[in-house]
């Protein structure tokens, strides 16, 4: 894990226009190690579009996103970030273990082994189960386990609590707190209230 206090995500004058509708304009923020950025706003206010710009899937209509002072289309950024979107990104025909092995091969090894990560998200007994036999909440936890096995310092999470029960939400919140305490940073959208008492949470309201 990056424990580098200089890592920072800088967004300056970002605008996003979709179908002639301005979603946001001149958005600026900075995020440092140990911080969480919570994006709030109604449905369709551009939260997901902002996350997808941060992932590099979408070009911003104006402005720029810098990671440690460099533009994000530089491969160092992709080593340092991990994204869990609306879609879980796990294959239903593979087992939990096979899915995580592929994710591990696609990134750099991180802090936890696959077995440890599965234990952390309470799926230790399901490593040989096909993903299609898991419940929606379990699939969600599996896709969040990906964050633990690969090297990353920035987590970008789009509605991470979808289909999780109260225990699952508490679990993910504790993982997020742990990540921030180790110097990581998180950008997330959520309709749930998040309880991260020991973490510096910035909020941005998109409207």
């Amino acid at each position: 894990m990056h424990n580098n206090s200089t890592s920072r995500l800088q967004v300056t004058d970002l605008s996003c226009v979709r179908d002639d509708r301005v979603l946001f304009e001149e958005l600026c923020f900075e995020l440092y190690s140990g911080q969480v950025l919570l994006l709030e706003g109604e449905n369709g206010s551009g939260k997901t579009s902002l996350l997808r710009i941060l992932c590099g899937f979408r070009e911003p209509d104006a402005g720029q996103v810098l990671w440690c002072g460099n533009a994000i289309n530089d491969s160092q950024y992709y080593e340092d970030m991990a994204y869990v979107g609306h879609l879980n990104g796990v294959k239903k025909e593979l087992t939990a273990l096979e899915n995580l092995k592929v994710s591990l091969a696609l990134g750099k090894a991180g802090q936890y082994s696959i077995a440890q990560a599965l234990a952390k998200v309470q799926l230790a007994d399901f490593d040989d189960a096909l993903v299609q036999t898991l419940s929606a909440g379990q699939q969600r936890r599996l896709s969040l386990a990906r964050l633990l096995i690969t090297h990353n310092s920035l987590w970008i999470l789009d509605e991470p609590f979808t289909s999780l029960d109260i225990k699952g939400i508490t679990l993910i919140e504790s993982l997020m707190t742990e990540h921030c305490n180790k110097g990581g940073m998180i950008v997330l959208t959520s309709h749930h209230d998040i309880a991260l008492p020991s973490v510096d949470v910035q909020r941005i309201l998109l409207s």
């Binding site: 997808r52 992932c55 590099g56 899937f57 979408r58 491969s75 992709y78 080593e79 970030m81 991990a82 994204y83 979107g85 609306h86 879609l87 879980n88 990104g89 796990v90 294959k91 239903k92 025909e93 593979l94 096979e98 092995k101 592929v102 994710s103 091969a105 696609l106 990134g107 750099k108 990906r146």
Partner: protein, 224 residues
């Protein structure tokens, strides 16, 4: 080295997925066999005519079978978000995409190669052109997968991309069809086919090097 490991992991994953959903292997192969077996029935008792058009039948069927299988290349990864994860990998997407294309060819192209000799005998193709038929299929079908990948990558985000895909990809398939069909026909009459084979080799090398980049770029556009 770890890039190579990621490349292999993608191939391994796609092969495993193909084994778990067998229809993906069976469909193009079944299509190929069905089309070819229908020709003798349609043409009737004219063995010479059948023999003369056998190279064309086999190649056109292989081409259509390859096109039919293209959609499965990125569809499921696009639908479940795995594609986003592949594109977010720190490794070059073009290499990872090449891994996917190779796995796709192993699943859909290679089986055609295995049944082709059988079907060639069935159509009464002369034995001396069998070797050339296999060589052209070996060189040509990977090109179909590589070029097709660009088209699928462009259309995977569209709900009804099938028609556009055929329009995009078919013209690019034509050179392969012409040279491969011609080579098999010439071999049947005992003529040298080095020129056609060399051209097919160069088309394969070119598309192997050039196709993954536009494919990766088009996929990035499609996930947007």
């Amino acid at each position: 080295m770890s890039l190579f490991y990621a490349f292999l992991a993608i191939i391994r994953r796609d092969l495993l997925l193909a084994v778990r959903r067998r229809s993906e292997i069976a469909n193009p192969l079944l299509f190929f066999v069905l089309v070819i077996t229908l020709f003798p029935l349609g043409i009737g008792a004219q063995p010479h005519l059948l023999q003369a058009i056998a190279p064309g039948i086999i190649w056109v069927s292989a081409l259509l079978a390859a096109m039919l299988s293209l959609d499965s290349l990125f569809r499921s990864d696009f639908d479940d978000g795995s594609l986003e994860q592949i594109l977010l990998s720190p490794y070059p997407s073009s290499i990872l995409v090449l891994g996917k294309i190779i796995a796709h060819w192993l699943v859909t192209g290679l089986p055609l190669l295995i049944v082709a000799p059988l079907l060639a005998v069935f159509l009464g193709m002369p034995m001396q052109s069998m070797g050339v038929l296999l060589i052209t299929l070996l060189l040509g079908t990977p090109v179909l997968s590589l070029i097709g990948a660009i088209g699928v990558a462009l259309t995977v985000g569209l709900r009804r991309g099938g028609m556009i895909l055929s329009l995009l990809v078919l013209p690019l398939y034509v050179p392969v069809l012409i040279f491969a069909g011609n080579a098999v026909e010439m071999a049947g009459s005992g003529l040298p086919v080095d020129a056609q084979i060399n051209i097919l080799i160069s088309i394969l090398c070119l598309s192997l090097v050039l196709a993954p980049w536009p494919t990766a770029a088009a996929l990035k556009m499609s996930v947007n």
